[in-house]
């Protein structure tokens, strides 16, 4: 999909919600000028809005015409004096009636009121009459009705699939907390702290000291919104003396659209991979996920939608997950569903029982696979804009459908060559052979009533690992009965409160980010510490483990660093998501395995540095920014040490070290003695930015 086309649609949509500012208006005009395709996009999108404003379902014009005619007869009986007045009155009467019919709530006596108002109007004061009528009418278009229909709202609420969604903060309601178990944010965080510190005590372990504010804010931003903080965010946070500043900051981040966008990127990558796949519409999937996360939809609902979605992959983004994995008798769909949503690695038991775990067997795998038996994909013929141009397959839309197979059993062969047959089974529930339910929908339903709440458990483990670098199990998506759990009590507790909260991802993130352990520094302060998960030991979370950024985090961070150093606004992520995807794809390779695996060659050092070095966009952005810093009228920025301060804050969220200051001074002096002395400042600043960006400190999450 082309960039400017998206932009036309985005700006038009903004205009429809009345949030288009002046510069955006200019931009929209630029895009529309002499571009027939864009003009028709604009007009058609607005037409959708117009139809909906007017009421799309019922053809109101037809219902209006009959009473209007009846009205005409009554109007005719009135004695009129002047012709001009008459037209005004007729107009007023019929118009009021039109409005009355449109809103279906207006008393017909309105027309009389208007008639009274305009009796003395002479032709010369036609404008006054017009104003009266218009004022009268203007108060009536459908938009100005006082309140939303309560009925609609109730129906919306009743459709939430998770029951027993509790009030936001149970602790504030003592009546409730007395009778049910208390999982207010404060209580949950205290429980996490208690359980984590218990294990420290058991292992006689000294946790790392609390992280500095600079270390903390950088980590918080990277974990929650997927990028480093801007200079402004850092200085505001570091300057604040509020004892609640961390809580407030977490709250803001967790509710931001950037957080939804980062989660959508992460999950889109996990669900369909980073490489392009035929028949997968990544944009639509991203939009679906973004919406879900932004609405803070219960996670179990999102999972249900992904599993049970059907329809076109461009209009229903959720379909793209299964569309990507239906090859090879839906074995990838089975394995990926189990791994991502249930935290179980089942791809080995496809062929044989699990070597260590008696519970997860081959038949369990095929019983899960059987839920996808009727699921199929078909291509949708592309609407031809120009019949002479054959649409390429890449543009084709795909459709996820269910076609009832005549054979209801799923057959598989075990290692000794015996044939077995299973029906779809989950958590002890078997879908009978003659059942007419849509099997995938049944699976989505069974997940919500799962006795082990595996979907919640898997998500808790994944989210914990997202924040700490390690989960309660290693790997995080292999939580079968054979796996070693570092903190079984904590995992069970968090799973329980996550379910009780209505699978609330915002709260889960807040709990983990507010825990004492997550406030600790990533550095190992105590010699001979036993907490070394990187050596295969059980993680004890006595510090936050250092990780490499993901390619997406690097991309976004470079963008934020360069832009905020130059005091430019950080542009909206949607503008750059296409470019970011291309950039990231340089690192990704896909394999045709049973899980549709792919590898990401991203070591945070050589390959990445090469790409960054060759990145012209980065080069241009840095040149621009260094010039902005050097030429700024603000003397706070232009003095060499201040410029370095700003660059260090933008790139690494800290002050420059003494060594860095020395290096910078040396470079600056060297340049001022060279042939292009007047350009010394921007060049020195640019060099420092390059050095910082390519440091290992930049690409690590501390």
């Amino acid at each position: 999909m082309s960039g400017p086309r998206d932009e036309v649609i985005r700006l038009t949509n903004l205009q429809l919600e009345g949030t288009l500012d002046e510069s955006a208006i200019l931009q929209l005009n630029e895009l529309l000028r002499d571009n027939e395709e864009f003009v028709s996009l604009y007009v058609e999108l607005i037409a959708i809005h117009g139809h909906l404003m007017w009421g799309a379902a019922a053809p109101r014009d037809a219902t209006v015409s009959a009473p209007a005619v009846a009205m005409e007869l009554t109007v005719e009986r009135r004695p009129f004096k002047a012709r001009s007045r008459r037209t005004v009155i007729v107009a007023a009467a019929v118009l009021s009636l039109v409005c009355a019919c449109l809103i279906l709530s207006r008393d017909s006596s309105v027309s009389d009121a208007v008639v009274e108002d305009t009796t003395d109007v002479s032709p010369a004061s036609g404008n006054a009459a017009r104003n009266i009528v218009v004022a009268e009418l203007r108060s009536q278009p459908p938009e100005t009705h006082p309140e939303l229909k309560p009925l609609v709202l109730d129906s919306l609420k009743s459709k939430h699939r998770v029951r027993n969604v509790p009030p936001d903060d149970v602790a504030t309601n003592t009546a409730v907390s007395a009778s049910s178990f208390d999982f207010s944010d404060a209580v949950v965080v205290a429980e996490i702290d208690r359980m984590v510190s218990d294990t420290w005590r058991q292992h006689n372990l000294q946790p790392s000291p609390t992280a500095s504010d600079t270390e903390w804010i950088r980590r918080a931003c990277l974990n929650i919104v997927g990028r480093i903080p801007t200079v402004e965010e850092s200085t505001t946070f570091l300057g604040s003396r509020s004892p609640r500043k961390k809580t407030q900051f977490i709250d803001e981040l967790v509710q931001s659209t950037e957080r939804s966008s980062q989660l959508a990127v992460i999950w889109a990558n996990m669900l369909v991979g980073r490489t392009e796949r035929r028949g997968v519409n990544r944009d639509a999937l991203f939009e679906f996920l973004f919406d879900e996360f932004q609405q803070n939809a219960p996670w179990i609902d999102t999972v249900g939608e992904l599993i049970s979605a059907s329809g076109r992959n461009d209009t229903n983004g959720a379909t793209n997950f299964l569309l990507a994995h239906l090859n090879n008798e839906a074995t990838p769909a089975t394995a990926v569903t189990a791994r991502l949503f249930l935290g179980e690695q089942l791809s080995c038991v496809q062929c044989h029982d699990h070597p260590f775990s008696k519970d997860s067997g081959q038949s369990e795998y095929w019983a899960l696979n059987a839920f996808f038996k009727d699921t199929d994909r078909v291509t949708v013929p592309v609407a031809m804009k120009n019949p002479l141009v054959r649409a390429s397959l890449r543009d084709a839309a795909w459709k996820l459908v269910d076609r009832r197979r005549t054979e209801r059993m799923t057959f598989f062969e075990n290692l000794s060559g015996q044939q077995n047959a299973v029906l779809p089974t989950y958590d002890g529930h078997i879908v009978p052979e003659d059942s007419t339910v849509r099997r995938r929908e049944e699976l989505a339903r069974l997940l919500t009533t799962d006795s082990e709440t595996k979907v919640a458990k898997a998500m808790v483990n994944r989210m914990w690992a997202h924040f700490f670098g390690y989960g309660f199990t290693t790997p995080i998506d292999d939580m079968g009965p054979h796996s070693v759990v570092s903190h079984p009590e904590l995992l069970t507790y968090l799973t329980r409160v996550f379910v009780a909260s209505g699978y609330d991802l915002q709260r889960l993130m807040k709990w983990i980010a507010s825990s004492h352990a997550w406030q600790l520094s990533s550095e190992v302060y105590v010699e001979g510490t036993v907490d070394r998960p990187e050596h295969g030991e059980i993680p004890l979370f006595s510090r936050v483990y250092v990780r490499r950024m993901t390619p997406e985090q690097v991309y976004e961070s470079i963008r934020v660093a360069v832009r905020s150093a130059g005091q430019r606004p950080v542009t909206a992520a949607e503008v750059s998501s296409n470019h970011r995807r291309q950039w990231v794809r340089q690192f990704a390779r896909s394999y045709d395995t049973d899980e549709n695996d792919e590898a990401v060659d991203f070591d945070g050092t050589i390959a990445q540095a090469m790409v960054m070095m060759n990145g012209r966009e980065v080069d241009d952005a840095i040149r621009h920014t260094s010039r902005v810093i050097a030429e700024s009228r603000d003397s706070d920025v232009t003095s060499p040490p201040k410029a370095l301060d700003r660059v260090a804050m933008a790139m690494l969220t800290r002050e420059p070290t003494v060594g860095e200051q020395r290096a910078f001074r040396r470079r600056y002096r060297q340049l001022t003695q060279g042939p292009r002395a007047d350009g010394a400042m921007p060049t020195a600043v640019g060099d420092m930015m390059w050095a910082y960006l390519n440091s290992s400190e930049f690409v690590l999450v501390h």
């Binding site: 649609i9 949509n13 903004l14 205009q15 429809l16 009345g18 208006i25 005009n29 529309l32 000028r33 002499d34 003009v39 028709s40 604009y42 007009v43 058609e44 999108l45 607005i46 037409a47 959708i48 404003m53 007017w54 009421g55 799309a56 379902a57 053809p59 014009d61 209006v64 015409s65 005619v69 005409e72 109007v75 009129f80 012709r83 037209t87 005004v88 007729v90 107009a91 019929v94 118009l95 036609g126 017009r130 009528v133 218009v134 938009e143 006082p146 309140e147 939303l148 229909k149 609609v152 459709k159 939804s260 919406d291 932004q294 609405q295 461009d314 209009t315 609407a383 031809m384 804009k385």
Partner: protein, 193 residues
Amino acid sequence: MFDPADNIDRARVSSETSSSGVPGELFIREFTQSQRRLYLYILPLVGNSSDADEILQETNLVIWAKWRQFELGSNFLAWGRAIARLEVFRHRRNRNRKMTLLDGNVLEQVAEQSELVNEHLDVRQAALAKCLTQLRVKDRELIELRYAPGANGDKVAKTLGRPANSVYQSLGRIRRVLMECVRMQLAEEGRLT
């Protein structure tokens, strides 16, 4: 050049209606049936419903003032659109200090396109009704909320307890889906020129 007074000369002058003091049944039927179409014609030219409403009312007043000039059997909608177009220009002139959405050239292009779209309105409406049924339940509910009488994006956001920004984004996405869907339907039916 865009003075509404010009319209008197440009409009068709009827010879037979002057005998009756009020417009006949056919005229009123044409008038009522044109309302939605005229609104949809005006909307892209101004880009927001409150201006479109206002201009529609002004247009209606002109239509009623000049009803004698309309020749029954000729294209009422084309006549109405011509009047509406002039009203749009008058409206722009009256508020020249405030920024208008489209500049002159672009407005011409948009008006042309809006007229084309206006001609296929019934087909489009039917296609949209069909597309609405194909939305995800959640999306349809959001659209119902947003387009309930008196609603707007902000109110919906407040009701749902979601940030306004995110509601706008969802609405934008759904409108886009609907637009592409309508396009697809029309293309499949071979109605798109």
